[in-house]
Symmetry: none
DNA sequence: TATGAATGAGTCTTCATTCAT
DNA sequence: TATGAATGAAGACTCATTCAT
């Protein structure tokens, strides 16, 4: 990745490492230059701004991540395994690239520059599409409970596990709160199916599920 | 909230709002002073440092949150409702106090000052205790599947939903990766119980569950 | 010195200690208040300003010093002992009250406020007078080499040992440089041959020198 | 001194002048920048900190001083003239670079940063060595009173004239006080009788004394 | 292509002083 | 007499960015 004397690549490598370690605000262009053993102005020769460099760093890691993810999902044959990939890989990857990818995919903090928000939406969309495909696959195989609205499920998984774009939506607090409530009801149901004893579970929760209605 | 001439409260209010909007690094003491319509030095009369003010802001909101949460959980009678509270309130609350509480309870980014890390651990501990109590309640009622290791479940819920202290643990990457894998397997199982059709699900997943062994 | 609950004395004591330890610029009014266990504003009740407090601290110690010095000189009978007192006590005293008295009596740094300069001149004058008296005493006893100009000698001793008011004299650099040259010539002569008359000196002082033993 | 566009030299010149006039604590980096007609940040481009800039200023002047001093001492042939150089040049030089060199060579005030203390020790060592050489020279010529312990004499001259490292020695007050007493006894003896052997002294120095005339 | 030099705007923090009580 | 609260001005230092070469 750092072959040849390509200084641009050198800068990017140092930037990725430092942004990962210290986050955007606490990484200075000086430090990146020092780490890359080049002059600070050279960074500005290749990247118009710190912001831009940050986006470039994210893109590099994100592309790497999506490649891994799609490959793994395609390689898996069973529905459960595909779902398993989808749930585990992001966590592993984000763990290895914290907080770079966290900044890219999550919404904390909500104040970031526009170019980052655009990237975020792009990545979320790609995640949604991947999960939608997996769900379709499960449906085709006839193993998914029809009561589960799979689009809604995809959305929710993204929102809970990779954290949602709640913070994008500006002032429309009520809408978000409603969605949060809807999501958590579904999440509780999912968890209950898992942790409740079969026979006890059914009667108790059916009632509740009916009352609150799965959409 | 801003009654009387209590300037300390005024400062805290402004700080909470601004830290929430812009995060720690991108909120300047100048801005807080301007927002509170007081002199910058007045902030330093009440709080020894920006860091300290940040912690104070977090504490105020965290206390508020824990009060709401414990009250709600105690008020709920059924196990499912208690669990529901535990899962929904943090999200709602964190949504309303992003990134203030996110900073306090989550581990992103990993570069923060010591005093914040201490707070984080305290809050995580309190969350763990609350969930443990709920699980105990469920057990006493005999409605929890004995195959679920409830301690492990608590841990996982905290790690996934409120995000774990992965980043505390220094260099020991392998250990963390193992735990991540363990967690996601459990999570997949929980989800599958929820979304798979009853009859199809059982035979298919039992196998897998047995193979990987629930702890 | 700190009898009763007299807060003014308390402040002065703390101020002396702290100014001594850290110097004027690096001692804050806050610290003095903290050390005296009183409120900062109380200091401003008793002293109009930090500057003023500094001068007051100096005065207290200076008065103490001059009392000691005159008492000791009067108590000494022989010329040599009087001179000895004059040379040793300031050093001892300044050592014990560094840099408080150093600030007061020396000219380092030259930028201090007017009130301090006034005090300096006053103290230098008193030192000069004391030395002049001693020299007169020596002359009356007929043991001082007539070739030594005793006024000039007094001046020089003060300038070299207690450091002079060179820095008072503003721009007139040439004049000062001439005086410095004159002084050092005299100093070298003193070091080489001393101030005592050859014939008088021998019998009188040999005794004493033998008693105290030159190493 | 300020030739060419060398901004580093410009900064150093302004710094030397201002530190000389106002001392370390009362000279602000802003003022130095203003005096040098450059931006404050430019100072930080060349010097990592104010402290560092101060040390650089001292070094420049100290080197200048030691060059002058050694040259002058070597040029002088007679013992008396060498001693004369040693005693006069520091004073003249320090006068012209007060309090810059005073800070570097003396121990007032005692609260300074470590890097300055290191410099102080270095300079004191160099002064001691120079004086030791001069005394050796005098001994070889057989004109120094054997009763004078020349090492002790060197120490004392440095302590009294250039002011000693009393303040380095921590708490050991008694030891220092004893040394002060010892020193002043020697000083009185020197003033009274001088360091030259009686018989050698007379013919050699009378000439010189007559030439320069005691006032 | 690459960089050394330079900077303006801003950062957190300190501190002597004032004032109402 | 004594003080808690409040502040303006200044302090050292940082940093993303520009520009001439």
């Amino acid at each position: 990745m750092n072959t040849g004397s390509d200084k641009k690549e050198l800068i990017l490598d140092s930037a990725i490492e430092l942004f990962n370690r210290w986050g955007y605000a606490k990484t200075s262009v000086d430090e990146i230059a020092r780490a890359a053993h080049i002059a600070k102005s050279t960074i500005y020769y290749y990247f118009p701004s710190k912001e831009n460099l940050f986006i470039a760093a994210i893109e590099e890691k994100a592309e790497e991540f999506f490649n891994k993810l799609t490959t793994a999902i395609e390689a898996a044959e069973k529905f459960e395994d595909k779902l398993s990939c989808f749930l585990s890989l992001p966590i592993t990857c984000i763990f290895q690239n914290m907080p770079l990818l966290a900044n890219a995919m999550q919404q904390i903090p909500p104040d970031y520059f526009t170019s980052l928000l655009i990237k975020r939406n792009e990545y979320r969309q790609r995640m949604n599409n991947l999960l939608a495909e997996i769900m379709n696959y499960g449906k085709k195989q006839g193993i998914i409970n029809e009561k589960i609205n799979s689009e809604h499920f995809s959305e929710m998984i993204n929102d809970w596990f990779i954290m949602g774009d709640y913070w994008n939506e500006g002032d429309n607090k009520n809408r978000i709160l409603k969605r949060l409530e809807r999501d958590h009801v579904l999440m509780v149901q999912l968890l209950l199916y898992g942790i409740l004893k079969r026979d006890t579970a059914k009667p108790r929760t059916r009632k509740k599920v009916n009352k609150r209605k799965i959409q």
